[in-house]
Symmetry: C2
Subunit: 399 residues, 2 copies
Amino acid sequence: MPAIAYLECSRCHARLSADTPQTLCTQCPDQPAGALYVRYDLTHLQGRSAEEVVGNDPTSPWSGMWRYRAVLPDVEPVTLGEGWTPMLRSKRHPGAFLKEEGANPTGSFKARGLALAVTMARHYGLKKLAVPSAGNAAGALAAYAAAADIEAHIFMPRDVPLANYVEAMAYGANVTLVDGVISDCARIVGERKQREGWFDISTLKEPFRVEGKKTMGYELVEQLGWEYPDAVFYPTGGGVGLIGMWKAFEEMEQLGWLKPGKRPRMFAIQSSGCAPVVQAFNDGAAASQMWQNAETAASGLRVPKAYGDYIILDILRASGGMAVAVSDDDIFASLRDWAANEGIFLSPEGAAATAAYDHLLSTGVLDASHRVVLFNTGAGLKYTDVTAAALGLKHPGGA
Amino acid sequence: MPAIAYLECSRCHARLSADTPQTLCTQCPDQPAGALYVRYDLTHLQGRSAEEVVGNDPTSPWSGMWRYRAVLPDVEPVTLGEGWTPMLRSKRHPGAFLKEEGANPTGSFKARGLALAVTMARHYGLKKLAVPSAGNAAGALAAYAAAADIEAHIFMPRDVPLANYVEAMAYGANVTLVDGVISDCARIVGERKQREGWFDISTLKEPFRVEGKKTMGYELVEQLGWEYPDAVFYPTGGGVGLIGMWKAFEEMEQLGWLKPGKRPRMFAIQSSGCAPVVQAFNDGAAASQMWQNAETAASGLRVPKAYGDYIILDILRASGGMAVAVSDDDIFASLRDWAANEGIFLSPEGAAATAAYDHLLSTGVLDASHRVVLFNTGAGLKYTDVTAAALGLKHPGGA
């Protein structure tokens, strides 16, 4: 495992030390301050193939996403078995693969980022972590904090799915339900963190959640035989996974594991009830505007403004991708379609990706020959109450 | 992949052909008829090591439980990414490992058995499958049947957890909720199956669910470096996983992959509200009596009489194990304990195993030096409603 060389600002490219906990760039001339990327000295990996470097010993404790430890910080992990999730081939679309992130601990992709962020928090000796969450980050932080014996302080919208509330409480986190959306929760964390002694582990406000999420990029490429797909469909709330995957692609090209110039087109998928990135993309803007009255049953997409919007928009444009909004009706129609015809029970966010894929197939932006990876960011089982309501399924014997 | 040599009755050892779909033994002199085991000709594997035979190519389509295809039927699988679940080391008990079956598709261990049973059903050209279920088998059958384009007819108790109802409906299964427990559901399937043309895919009433479940035995041994643990704690409703693991141990010894004489002690864990195997074990009986007024919030353990009880009891005794009952109070205390202190959100059934482990540590039956595998048979997230009620967590913003 490599030592961290420095942290690099995604805006002004200033270099900060990783010897102490960092949040955002302290050198940025303008606000908002840039998010930080972790940079390693990887010269010792030059000339070594991916197959040689990436661990594949089934009895190794370095399993799951830690098979990529050669490109992750050299710190003892806090792990619950995250990563190395199934890449399922669609039964109807020969080019489509469903990346099943619901198989992660706590049932969502948030496990990857928070496994690494809590690992680093423990390494730095942090004792109190706080986070605003649309739901799934709450469960993941609560679980890894419990495993690491660190306090978790969680702020979620009052109407999060039942599973997000119950898991966070069961893990023993300090949970506050807020009348509002994630940006209201973020404001409260921001106001109270200094007084309370909380470290703000919000997405992109520290450098390691994106670093954990980047393993999705390594993993999808490895699972496709160390080749890029043609396109990636990513349900985009905070968009950290999209940013992390792009960083992974850059690293793999620097390592000589992949040829430059063939990166996938990146598609950010949002709900039409909360589509700030789509609006900014269509407007040709460099950043998004705060979305007013955000409303969608895909709770993970209810993010009125992503901190990393400027990075997301850059990536969409650089990759030749797009930002696409789909309606909640289309989301739940696609959810039902994939359950009944593929045997895969998607989260509403995942069903936004499959709905958008159908849409871009029908409009000719993509065709069946394209190799496409669709992200199901969470287990359908985390949204049982939400999906039951949307599909009109009332449990006749339920409490 | 090997050809099936024959099916062998677990009671009278009669041999039946696997060329057509089989249910129970047709040759047994006494009733109930014996369950059938799949037997292969494995002579071509003799002298080859486990490491050589078992697939470990990360880009192979033969991933998950299909890495053991050398000891599974030679048929094109219906797969949703089942198997190869995390083996988590306890943070507090140095000898204890938690086998996280909640990471399977449909969030439970039932995926393994039904992946293989539906694979074989498709191979045989069966069009309508029926099953009684305490909950999780329903979701798994519904998913694999949807993937295989086969009709699923499901009978569940009216008060199953919400997730079991919603997933089965979303997958498009024909769901009937029954006032009663799984044995009442089984009676209905038995009465109607001939008229309706249903193939009864009930646990042990066809030979392939146990064959899929046996992969848990291969997997736990491989994950421990091709060594047996000292003990296995298995939440026991129908007990098919316990039967399947024992079959796997037998096969691995025949193949020379493991030395005989060192099998783990097998512990069958039940709820004190439904403990027919515990009662039979303590009475020295060869089979269990139908448990009256079965009641436990661990819905998967609400099985008043397991069809394979005679096999389970044989295994417990042959292994030097035990059957142990724990109260629902102890189950939910252990669930909360593991969530808050290990970061692992168990199903009530899984928490029965951890509660029983605590109990046997405290009574000196086991000590901290013993290597023990505790099965969490399902994701805690499948029981959000049940666990919220048991822990007194009312979602303040919930519907």
